[in-house]
Amino acid sequence: MHPTLVKRGAEADIYLTEWGGKKAISKVRTPKQYRHQALDATIRKHRTMAEASFMSAAKSAGVMTPFVHFVDLVDAEIIMEFIEGDSVRDALTPELCYEMGCYAAMLHASNIIHGDLTTSNFIKNKKLVLLDFGLSYYSERTEDVATDIRLIKEVFTSAHIAVRKTFPNFVEGYASIAGKKRTDKILENVKEIEQRGRYARVT
């Protein structure tokens, strides 16, 4: 099967291809002409490496991710398992928000910061599957955990403004894994980050 372009993402092209006779996804971080070559090469290599290793690390944390078949650091390509299903972005429900909260808490319990926790990076299969670990890193700091949570909160209040009251469901899911005390502490930190935002403090 010849690889066909499925989606042109922000930083990578997604192709549908084949691996060992099964449908697979090839994610290629193609060079960006507008970026200086040295900067571009560093970013592409680093993110490909991070993505491949965190996809596996997340599995041990209890989070479903696609299986990695093959990694090519020179061309910044990852071939991974094809996951059937829709992006949560287009079919957001309170139940899915709860599940996403659980996933975030499980990652954080293993000190994994996802770095790009948005609804478009979740796929609804039989279970929820999380993608896009290019910006992931390890950290124990509450501040970094809060940065992750703040991002998805921002997505809920900007892109998903029509689906009201979804963030509390996410928090509920998160607290079911992390515990209320820890969740409150993180939310406190999220508020602090928001207050740091430009023109957020009313004088």
Partner: protein
């Protein structure tokens, strides 16, 4: 309907006349120039605004060929911005509105950038990159407000350029001089921190690192590397927003929109997604009275919103995503 718009959030004091078709009849402004190596001192800038205000207003009326009697409403920038500067604009607006008995409309300055940008470029439903000394944000309109998709977590790209320029001994605004210096570089890239957090960016570490590099390396190379890094970060933030929102149009507004290199980089990232790029005309990229007048006009025409002189206000902190935009559907 004719609107007088008064702008005074930072270094610019401007008065403009705009009619309900969105035609700018006059746009007069006077910019406070900081001494070499210094930024905008709020007290000094407000003193400049005070001294220049009546002349700017007069010139604006004259070049539009109108008198105060012809003006139907008065808009003023109420925030966000520097308190002392905002106060000057507000005082001028209150005085004129009180004396001539005209409705007074407070305007969010950032909203002004977006609204004027859309009418001038003809973009209908764009993803917006607002880049200036006060803002660095990606925005899209949804459910009655401009929603923030991503933004800077610390300083703005305008501040990055200004503070870096000041360290080199330039006077704010420094973006133009940095762009000129960068062109002199042979394209030698010095490594600098590239920070993307989800849809957000952070520039403070980049600023510190770039200033440090100036001690050892050729200044044009540092300027070049600073621009390349910062603008690549903005381009990635834009691409993320485009890919998520699926918008077919993209618009860039704010003072930093005047940078040609940034426009070129964004052109490349937009073409990757088949998105049409609209760049706010150079003359209206930076702060001006027209953005205030046009926004006030739309708000007043849609809902007759205005404030009494005694209830008029300024807000130094006034986030764009807290403003209801009733006229845009």
């Amino acid at each position: 309907m004719l609107c007088l718009g008064i702008e005074s959030t930072a270094h610019t004091f401007g008065c403009s006349m705009v009619n309900s078709k969105g035609s700018v009849l006059s746009d007069v402004r006077d910019i406070y120039k900081a001494p070499e190596g210094e930024g905008i001192h709020p007290r000094e800038a407000s003193r400049h605004h005070m001294e220049i205000s009546s002349i700017v207003l007069q010139q604006s009326l004259q070049s539009a060929g109108v008198s105060m009697k012809d003006v139907d409403i008065i808009g003023y920038s109420a925030g966000p911005g520097l308190g002392p500067c905002l106060r000057v604009g507000a005082v001028v607006a209150r005085t004129v509105a009180g004396f001539y008995k005209k409705p007074l409309v407070p305007v969010n300055h950032a909203l002004g950038h977006l609204e004027l940008g859309t009418v001038l470029t003809g973009a209908s439903d764009p993803l917006v990159l607002l880049v200036s000394g006060g803002h660095t944000m990606t925005l899209a309109f949804s459910h009655g407000r401009w929603r923030v998709f991503g933004e800077t977590l610390d300083i703005t790209v305008g501040q990055l350029l200004d503070q870096f320029g000041r360290a080199l001994g330039f006077a704010s605004p420094c973006g133009g001089r940095i762009e000129q210096l960068a062109i002199q570089s042979a394209g030698k890239y010095l490594q600098l921190p590239y920070v993307i957090k989800g849809n957000d960016v952070s520039f403070s570490g980049l600023l510190t690192a770039a200033i440090k590099l100036t001690e050892k390396f050729y200044t044009p190379d540092v300027c070049y590397s600073l621009q390349e890094t910062a603008f690549a970060m903005l381009a990635e933030a834009v691409e993320r927003a485009l890919s998520f929102s699926g918008k077919r149009e993209m618009m860039i507004v704010g003072g930093v929109a005047a940078n040609r290199r940034l426009a070129k980089i964004l052109e490349a990232s937009c073409s990757r997604h088949g998105t049409k790029l609209f760049v706010c005309p150079l003359k209206f990229a930076g702060d001006n009275g027209s953005q205030i007048a046009w926004t006030a006009l739309q708000e007043y025409q849609d809902s007759k919103t205005h404030v009494r002189v005694e209830d008029s206000f300024i807000k130094q902190s006034w986030r764009l995503d807290t403003v209801d935009v009733s006229w845009r559907r």
